[in-house]
Amino acid sequence: MKVIKNLKYSKDHEWVKVEGNKAYIGITDYAQHALGDIVFVELPETDTEISGGDAFAVVESVKAAADVYSPVSGVVLEVNEELLDAPERINEDPYESWIALIELSDPDEVEELMDAVEYEKFCSEED
C-alpha cells in the first residue's frame, strides 16, 4: 500500500492535499485497492457548500458503490472531470486522481486529520 508523505488522511480513507486555503481531495491507495476495478465516479457540482463528514461524491467499482466523505468543510471550486470518462485513473494513480478542489472554510479541520505515518498505522489495524 502506497502512502504519500505530505498529505493528510481521514479514517474513511480520503486524502487531502492542502495548498494555501484550498485543498484537493481524493481517495487513498488503500481505498481503491479495497474497492477493486473502479468503473464510475459521480462528482459534486461546483459551488456546492459542504461540511466536514458530508458524502460529496460516489465512487463505484464493479461490485460496490462507495460514498466519498469530505474530511473538510468548504465550497467546491473545481471537480476532476477527467474521471467521468476514465474512472480507472483512480486505480492507476489514486494520489494524482483528485476528485474535487475545495476552498476551506475552516482550515483548522486539517489539523485533526492523520499524517502519513498515523494513516499507515491506522490501515494496518484495519486489516
Binding site: G36, D37, V39, F40, E42, V58, V62, K63, L84
Partner: protein, 365 residues
C-alpha cells in the same frame, strides 16, 4: 463459513475471499475486469465446488423429475443435459438446475449452492413412485474451465477427443490427467467451456493439472466477480436476482424451458398456464444507460415519476464498456427502444430498452 476443497489454493493465489451464501470463495484474484476479459479472449478457471449435486435414482426417477421441473426430459438421451426451472405450485421458482441423464434410472441434478438444502427438502417432500433422492454435494468438487481456449487446454489432459462432447452433453469416467471425472460442455459465462466434476479429494490435483496445461494458452484463475459479469452480459439468469419464489420463469423469458404441453402434470403447471393465458403483466427487459449512471440490483425503474419495476442485475459491462442492466418491469414498457428511468440515488437517470443478450454466445454446438 464453509470451505471448498480448493480454499487453500485460493489463499495461495491471493484470492480475495468473500462470504458467498455461506461459502468462503474468491471474488477476484487480480481484478474482475482482467479475469472477465481473459475468459472472453482466452480462458479462465473457476472453483464452483459450492454448487449442489443431488442424485435421483430408481425405476421412477424420470417420471418423478418430470413432475417437479418445467422442462421436458422425455427425449433426453444418456449423456445429455437439460436446463430447467423447478417451480412452486404458484409458479414461483424454487431453483433453476441442470439434469444430467446418467442412465435410464439415474440422474445427477446440479443446483445453486445456497439453495441446495432447500431444494433437497423440496424434492424429498414431493417424492413420487419408486425413487431415491440423495444429496451428494460434499462428495463432488466442480471446476469450470471457460473461454475459447478451453478445449485446447483440456484436450492436453483428456483421454478422449473432447470435440465429441457437444454443447449440453457430458461424459462420465473421462480420464483427465489420471483423474476420473465427469466432463460436460456447459458453463455460465456465454463462452465455450467445460465443467469438470471430480471427487473432492482430487480437486486440488485437478486444479493444478488444468492450470499447468493452460499456462501457455493464457489461462487465469477467475473469481465469482467475473463469473457474475460474464453471465450477466450473456443475460443468463441468476437465482436471487432474475429468479425467486416471487418470479415465474415465464416473466423472465424462460418459456423455452417451460413445456406446458408436456404429457405429465408438473408442479406449478396450473399457475403457469393461467399466467400465460392472462398475458404477462411484467417482463424482464435488457437496458443500457443513455445518461451517466451505474444501475444496480434493487434500483427502481420509473416512467413519468411512477415505479414500473426494478433492476434485477445492473452494472458495467467489461466486454461492451457500457453500463447496462436487466430489469423486471411492466410488460408495456419492455419493448426495444422504450425510454425508461433508473432511480439512482433519488434521480431518474435515462436508459433505453435493448435486445438481450448484451453479449452473443459463441458456444460450440
Amino acid at each position: 463459513m464453509k470451505k471448498t476443497p480448493l480454499y487453500e489454493v485460493h489463499i495461495k493465489l491471493g484470492g480475495r475471499m468473500i462470504d458467498f451464501g455461506g461459502w468462503a470463495l474468491p471474488v477476484q484474484y487480480t481484478g474482475i475486469i482482467e479475469e472477465h476479459l481473459a475468459v472472453r479472449e482466452k480462458a479462465g478457471l473457476f472453483d464452483v465446488s459450492h454448487m449442489g449435486e443431488i442424485i435421483v435414482e430408481g425405476p421412477d426417477a424420470a417420471s418423478y423429475i418430470q413432475g417437479i421441473i418445467t422442462n421436458d426430459i422425455t427425449g433426453l438421451c444418456i449423456g445429455q443435459i437439460s436446463y430447467s426451472p423447478m417451480c412452486y405450485h404458484n409458479g414461483g421458482v424454487v431453483d433453476d438446475l441442470l439434469v444430467y441423464k446418467l442412465n435410464d434410472e439415474k440422474f445427477l441434478i446440479i443446483v445453486n449452492a445456497s439453495n441446495t438444502d432447500k431444494d433437497y427438502e423440496w424434492m424429498k417432500s414431493n417424492l413420487a413412485g419408486n425413487v431415491l433422492v440423495e444429496n451428494v454435494s460434499d462428495k463432488y468438487a466442480q471446476l469450470a474451465l471457460q473461454g475459447p481456449e478451453s478445449e485446447s487446454i483440456l484436450q492436453k489432459l483428456a483421454n478422449i477427443p473432447l470435440s465429441d462432447i457437444k454443447f449440453y452433453n457430458f461424459r462420465e469416467n473421462v480420464n483427465i490427467g489420471g483423474i476420473t471425472s465427469i466432463v460436460s460442455r456447459t458453463g455460465y459465462t456465454g463462452e465455450d467451456g467445460f465443467e469438470i466434476y471430480v471427487d473432492s479429494d482430487k480437486a486440488e490435483a485437478m486444479w493444478n493439472l488444468v492450470m499447468e496445461a493452460g499456462k501457455d494458452k493464457g489461462l487465469v484463475p477467475a473469481g465469482l466477480g467475473a463469473r457474475d459479469t460474464l453471465r450477466f452480459e450473456a443475460a443468463l439468469p441468476l437465482y436471487g436476482h432474475e429468479l425467486s419464489p416471487d418470479i415465474t420463469p415465464l416473466e423472465v423469458g424462460l418459456e423455452k424451458f417451460v413445456k406446458l404441453e408436456k404429457e405429465c402434470d408438473f408442479i406449478g403447471k396450473q399457475a403457469l398456464v393461467e399466467q400465460k393465458e392472462k398475458g404477462l403483466k411484467r417482463k424482464l427487459a435488457g437496458f443500457k444507460m443513455i445518461d451517466r449512471g451505474l444501475p444496480r440490483n434493487g434500483y427502481d425503474v420509473e416512467v413519468n415519476g411512477e415505479k414500473i419495476g426494478y433492476v434485477t442485475t445492473g452494472g458495467f459491462s467489461p466486454s461492451l464498456k457500457l453500463n447496462i442492466g436487466l430489469a423486471l418491469i411492466s410488460a408495456e414498457y419492455a419493448k426495444k427502444g422504450t425510454e425508461i428511468g433508473i432511480n439512482i440515488r433519488g434521480k431518474a437517470v435515462r436508459a433505453e430498452v435493448v435486445k438481450k443478450p448484451f453479449y452473443s454466445k459463441k458456444y460450440k454446438k
